[in-house]
Symmetry: C2
Subunit: 230 residues, 2 copies
């Protein structure tokens, strides 16, 4: 039974061609590159992660990894893009049955603040680790001098799509609110940053002592709905 359900819910994220040189999904080596890069970036941090170390870990060579990704920054963008696509998939899945925008928004905030309940099988990718990589390293994907060039290549499309989708729900909930997109990106960023602060720089938050996911949720909930109260 669980086999069948797993197959029904199996997620296949369609990735933009510009994100890679060769599609890593289509070979054992490629899938290993994704899987273990996520593991190692989490372990070492992005700065200490190198293609050489990854190659050693998965029993291949640096040059072979370079045939899949131009460089390690592109690989990071790939992972982060996968994460946002995956999250959008979840958002769509869990909100499609909800009638009014208020409930949809509430559900989204819940997904953001209380993430990663291993609900979809994504074969070779560990979604919990990808989430952590997104929190710790996600901003580095776009905080570069070549952000505009990368943006033209649509590398950030998954993030912008999700942001736009949430902004639409915000606008539906309160059409008179002036900043739906900024509120949406604030929600997305703060879901990550407040969690990072809670765990690592707790005095920047009000839920550092008990590291309470519930209070993080409440903060985001209030932030959004106080802004949208009519």
């Amino acid at each position: 039974m669980s086999e069948i359900r797993k197959m029904e819910l199996a997620v296949q994220i369609k990735m933009n061609e510009k994100l890679f040189l060769r599609n890593p999904e289509l070979s054992e080596l490629g899938r290993n590159i994704i899987k273990y890069s996520v593991v190692m970036i989490r372990e070492k941090g992005f700065e200490d992660f190198t293609f050489k170390k990854l190659a050693q870990r998965i029993g291949t060579t640096e040059a072979s990894i370079y045939r899949y990704f131009e460089n390690k920054h592109r690989l990071l963008i790939y992972i982060v893009a996968w994460y946002w696509s995956y999250l959008e998939y979840k958002v769509v899945f869990y909100t499609q049955n909800l009638a009014n925008p208020e409930n949809r928004l509430k559900k989204i905030i819940e997904l953001l603040a209380k993430p990663v309940t291993d609900d979809f099988s994504t074969d070779y990718i560990d979604e919990k680790l990808v989430y952590e990589v997104a929190v710790w390293e996600g901003s580095k994907a776009y905080l570069t001098k070549h952000v505009s060039k990368d943006n033209k290549d649509r590398l950030f499309k998954p993030y912008k799509d999700l942001c736009g989708r949430i902004a639409n729900i915000i606008a539906e909930f309160n059409p008179r609110y002036k900043f739906p997109r900024s509120l949406s990106s604030t929600l997305l960023e703060m879901a990550h940053y407040q969690r990072f602060f809670m765990n690592n720089l707790p005095s920047l938050t009000d839920f550092g002592e008990d590291k309470s996911e519930e209070r993080l949720y409440q903060f985001l909930y209030q932030l959004v709905f106080d802004s949208l109260k009519k």
Copy 2:
């Protein structure tokens, strides 16, 4: 006259000893390291910035720069810490004469959203450039595997101090609001991120087309005061 006023308002930021190996303020070479690292990080982005290139630019050697800073990441932390200290100084200066917390908060949001009016002389540091470095590279100061170790060395104290100061004003304005510190860090982060988005990933904001600083200000103002309405 302007000479005298300049002297009166000249800012001397006291920096934590752990931020450097040798105090760069105390030598011509040290001051050049700070001044031109800010220039070059802005020009090239932090990833492409190296001590070697900096050494060439200011006519010294790599090894000499290493006598001041352990590595380029520590130099970034120094610059960002200087920025937050400078901003806190400004906050104190511009709010000391304001009686009620509402006006103080309003002033702070103004300072954050409409920054860098060359009001204080800071001799060798270009505050406009430092602000831009803080926006583009600031998060990289703490988004590392050694954030906790760095935090124990109090490297992020200036950021946490400013965050705490604003949180206190928030709590004074509305003592029943539950998340003053998280709202404060959200305000600080979003002042940077929404500006970065506005200029580089405009569809994540609602002020991308006209790049309107005024609307960015309004967004932050509403975000804070809608949360604090009693």
